[in-house]
């Protein structure tokens, strides 16, 4: 409890003196977002799983809980975080996972962090704890402030505790590899997503499409046979498959190596293959495309906006062109007013999301 009191005190103190705080779990996602500014507020000490009842499919954990600890506790009960959040390093915390709002390979099939967030406790700008949402699946009491905190990069308050919906680990799993062009892969992935197939991850890179199927043993078996017969798919050995998906999720796969900036392109899944210089890896049935390129931000953004998507400079040294896609004027106005309402003195992670707040 004292760790929480300390966080609240630090916030009150910062607010009193109008000093900025840089909220940090383990710092594994320090690379993500705009500039890091303010005195370090380490949330790591406020740690631990508060409640986990497998039959309720809900887990509640404090912000400093290591993601690895949470995932191990779930795995022990044959459950999981279905959105497969990337840790991006040792010690990544639950608070950071929610603040970053990033999801992994299963996202297109299962949903994102925000889809599984049921409730959150937040330390507000006056240093007090507020609870939004709850521990139940269905809850429409009040505005959905807990989901608003997902991906907020800590600009509205300190995420202190979260409740998440968890799911059972699928009974069976198989990964297949199919040789095909990007255009064919995009067309096929969209067609397959409209059919009752147990696809839970996809990744295309360098003429190879990898597909993961999970679910009931019979469903996985039937789908596997179909892909082998119709597309000449080859099965990837389970260990190699796990290593591959982990490499995509944690960006340790060799695709992510190299000095060029890494762009994260979020697009409608049916958007055509992007003609952009550089290398690409396509995930989420076509809806997420990673681009390693030295092209300028203007060029990348124009190409992505043309197909109704947005581009984030995910990893790159020069952030002067802006990490996140600029917002439309009415949306930006709501952002400014929300920030003003939640954090009138601008103490929480100023400039981490957009330079102006």
């Amino acid at each position: 409890m004292s760790a929480l009191v300390e966080i609240c005190d630090r916030v009150r103190e910062a607010a009193a003196h109008g000093r900025a705080l840089r909220i940090r779990g383990a710092g594994t996602k320090d690379f993500y977002g705009q500039a890091l500014d303010g005195e370090l507020l380490d949330t790591g000490a406020y740690s631990g799983i508060v409640a986990f009842e497998p039959t309720e499919l809900v887990v509640t954990a404090r912000c400093g809980t290591p993601l690895s600890e949470l995932e191990a506790a779930l795995a022990h009960e044959r459950q999981m975080l279905a959105f497969e959040p990337p840790a991006f390093g040792e010690g990544a915390t639950v608070g950071g996972m929610v603040a970053a709002g990033l999801s992994g390979p299963r996202r297109a099939a299962a949903g994102s962090v925000r889809d599984f967030l049921l409730g959150a406790a937040m330390v507000d700008a006056s240093g007090q704890l507020n609870r939004f949402g709850g521990q139940v699946m269905k809850n429409v009491a009040g505005y959905d402030v807990s989901r608003l905190l997902c991906g907020s990069l800590g600009v509205l308050g300190v995420i202190a505790e979260v409740s998440l919906k968890v799911l059972p680990v699928p009974a069976a799993q198989a990964t297949l590899s199919i040789t095909m062009s990007e255009a064919d892969a995009l067309r096929c992935l969209n067609e397959w997503a409209g059919q009752p197939l147990p696809i839970t991850a996809s990744a295309w890179h360098a003429s190879t499409l990898r597909l993961r199927m999970s679910g009931a043993a019979a469903a996985v078996q039937t789908a596997r046979d179909r892909f082998v017969k119709a597309y000449g798919a080859a099965e990837v050995a389970p260990d190699a498959a796990d290593a591959y998906w982990s490499g995509v999720r944690e960006q340790t796969d060799e695709f992510f190596a190299g000095e060029e900036p890494l762009w994260r392109l979020s697009l409608p899944s049916v958007a055509p293959a992007l003609v952009a210089p550089g290398r690409q890896l396509v995930e989420w049935g076509g809806a997420l495309r990673w681009l390693k390129t030295t092209s300028g931000a203007t060029e990348v953004r124009a190409a992505v906006r043309g197909v109704g998507g947005s581009a984030t400079l995910f990893r790159g040294a020069d952030k002067s062109a802006g990490v996140f896609e600029p917002l439309a004027a009415p949306v930006a106005a709501v952002h400014r007013r929300l920030k003003q309402q939640f954090d009138p003195k601008g103490i929480f992670n100023p400039g981490r999301m957009y330079p102006e707040f």
């Binding site: 497998p54 039959t55 309720e56 809900v58 297109a108 949903g111 994102s112 889809d115 507000d124 006056s126 007090q128 507020n130 939004f132 709850g134 139940v136 699946m137 269905k138 809850n139 429409v140 009491a141 009040g142 505005y143 959905d144 402030v145 989901r147 608003l148 997902c150 991906g151 600009v155 799911l167 059972p168 680990v169 009974a171 969209n190 067609e191 997503a193 409209g194 009752p196 197939l197 009931a216 019979a218 469903a219 078996q221 979020s266 409608p268 049916v270 809806a287 109704g308 947005s310 996140f324 896609e325 439309a328 009415p330 949306v331 709501v334 007013r337 929300l338 003003q340 309402q341 939640f342």
Partner: protein, 502 residues
């Protein structure tokens, strides 16, 4: 004008003067066809309530814009004249969220009822707010797709209302709520500006305003368009019906199914009062000796369903089910479901009126909750039927009463409020899917602290600075909660119960 935003227009019943009405009507008629502006009592009467008819209020004016541009004009006029606006879909809501404001405009979106596009490859549909929930699935059916959230009122309710309430349905344990199935919402702000939340990609830049907008009960902006996700229709669905001689045991059986790693497409429970009430009308073949009946549905490919149904059957048998039936045909599956789907009308046939509650609790407390409700039935001298979305802990107790007897309605209201209080006590919520509206506004005082409610007002101010969108709903003011706290009966006891009263 200097009063705090949340207090302005908070009195929903304060009627406008005839002069004010004429002024507003004249301005609205300048931008809308005369047949789209209703203000005579006989025209506005049908709008006085939504699906919760116990709460009624005649509006000053009703408008039915036919285009998004007209919605913009209406909102600009309302902003200009400082007139409250209550957006309305099909009026099937069950919390009085669309109950009018006496000096306000009801903004009906019924005429914005077109499916703008449906892309089977991208599995999305762009729809206007007045499109009926079921109409989306009907339009998607030829492509083997459907829109997953299926509130019981899906034949009539509209997607605009679903977005406003974050509607659920019978299948949301597996397929999610509205918030999980809507990609993008286009709306008009109180300033008459177009604003878009989300996009047709899975992630959008900035804060997740889409999540805020969904379930915001028409208080942040007025939706004019949405892009919804479509999913492949499961090839097959089958349902297991199990009888239990003890309600608690039925609740435990639900937990056991989940513990086995099974997420059924639907998992519903009815108590004996419900099965006995519905059986004469639906003839579903329910076991009327059972204290509770569980319905567990599996869907997917034939192989998946066969595997899952076998597991469910085994688990239920081990959990002490006294009888088990598995639907052998689509007709039989629908018959098993018919009682659950018709529980509300059945309540209407055995009682002059019924009051449907909508709390959610952690499932493990189901048994205790039922015991508590039974005790309340005696104390309030009213009957209560219990139907649950058992998979997600969402309860729909149906309190039976006669509205012609004012004391019965008062008792029903208190009974309902006490159930909701119990839900909060058990770590749940006062509303799972029907919304707060006007009905549960006092219960919000119990679930949230002053500071938390202030945070909701902060959100409201960020979207609707003048406080004109559906004022007086969903979030109670400090003074309202203080007033409620004073008179609030806790667990059947008034505060300071040693003080003499009345």
């Amino acid at each position: 004008m200097n009063a705090p935003q949340e207090l302005r227009h908070a009195d929903i019943t304060a009627a406008a003067t005839p002069q004010r009405q004429s002024e507003v009507v004249a301005r609205l008629r300048a931008v809308l066809d005369p047949h789209c502006v209703l203000f005579r009592e006989e025209e506005t009467r049908p709008y006085e309530c939504d699906g919760l008819s116990a709460f009624r209020q005649l509006p000053m004016v009703v408008v039915l814009p036919e285009t998004e541009a007209q919605v913009q004009q209406v909102l600009r006029i309302c902003r200009d004249l400082d007139v409250p606006v209550v957006a309305r879909g099909a009026g099937t809501g069950l919390s009085g969220g669309a109950m009018p404001h006496a000096s306000g405009v009801v903004l009906s979106l019924a005429k914005l009822n077109r499916i703008l596009s449906l892309d089977p490859l991208a599995r999305i549909a762009r729809v206007q707010p007045g499109v009926r929930n079921l109409a989306i699935s009907e339009a998607a059916a030829p492509f083997g797709l459907y829109y997953a959230p299926d509130p019981s009122s899906q034949i009539a309710c509209t997607i605009g209302g679903n977005v406003a309430e974050n509607s659920g349905g019978v299948h949301c344990l597996k397929y999610g709520l509205t918030v999980h199935n809507v990609l993008r919402v286009r709306a008009v702000t109180i300033d008459g500006e177009i604003i878009e939340f989300g996009s047709e990609a899975l992630d959008s830049p900035g804060l997740d305003l889409l999540a805020l907008m969904i379930g915001s009960e028409g208080m942040l902006a007025v939706m004019t368009e949405a892009t919804v996700k479509l999913m492949p229709k499961p090839q097959l669905a089958q349902v297991v019906m199990a009888s239990f001689d003890d309600v608690k045991r039925a609740g435990d059986a639900v937990a056991t199914i989940i513990a086995e790693g099974i997420i059924p497409a639907g998992l519903e429970m009815m108590d004996q009062k419900t099965t006995r009430a519905v059986e004469p009308f639906v003839k579903a073949g329910y076991d009327l000796d059972a204290q509770a009946i569980l319905l567990a549905e599996s869907d997917g490919t034939p192989e998946e369903v066969a595997e899952e149904i076998a597991s469910i059957e085994r688990v239920l048998r081990d959990a002490g089910a006294t009888a088990i039936k598995v639907s052998g045909s689509e007709a039989e599956r629908l018959r098993f479901w018919s009682g659950r789907k018709n529980a509300f009308p059945a309540a209407g046939r055995i009682s002059p009126d019924y009051y449907c509650m909508d709390g959610t609790i952690p499932r493990k407390n189901l048994g205790q909750m039922l015991v508590a409700i039974e005790e309340m039935e005696h104390r309030y001298a009213l009957r209560c039927m219990n139907v649950f979305h058992a998979g997600d802990g969402n309860l729909h107790p149906l309190i039976l009463f006669d509205a012609n007897d004012p004391d019965e309605w008062r008792r029903a209201e208190d009974f309902g409020a006490e159930i909701l209080e119990k839900c909060v006590e058990f770590g749940g919520t006062v509303t799972g899917e029907h919304g707060v509206g006007i009905e549960k506004i006092n219960s919000m005082c119990i679930q949230f602290s002053d500071r938390e409610r202030e945070a909701f007002f902060a959100v409201k101010r960020a979207f609707d600075a003048p406080g004109l969108l559906n004022p007086g709903k969903a979030i109670p003011t400090l003074s309202r909660c203080a007033e409620y706290g004073k008179m609030h009966v806790h667990g059947g006891k008034l505060p300071f119960s040693d003080l003499p009263r009345f």
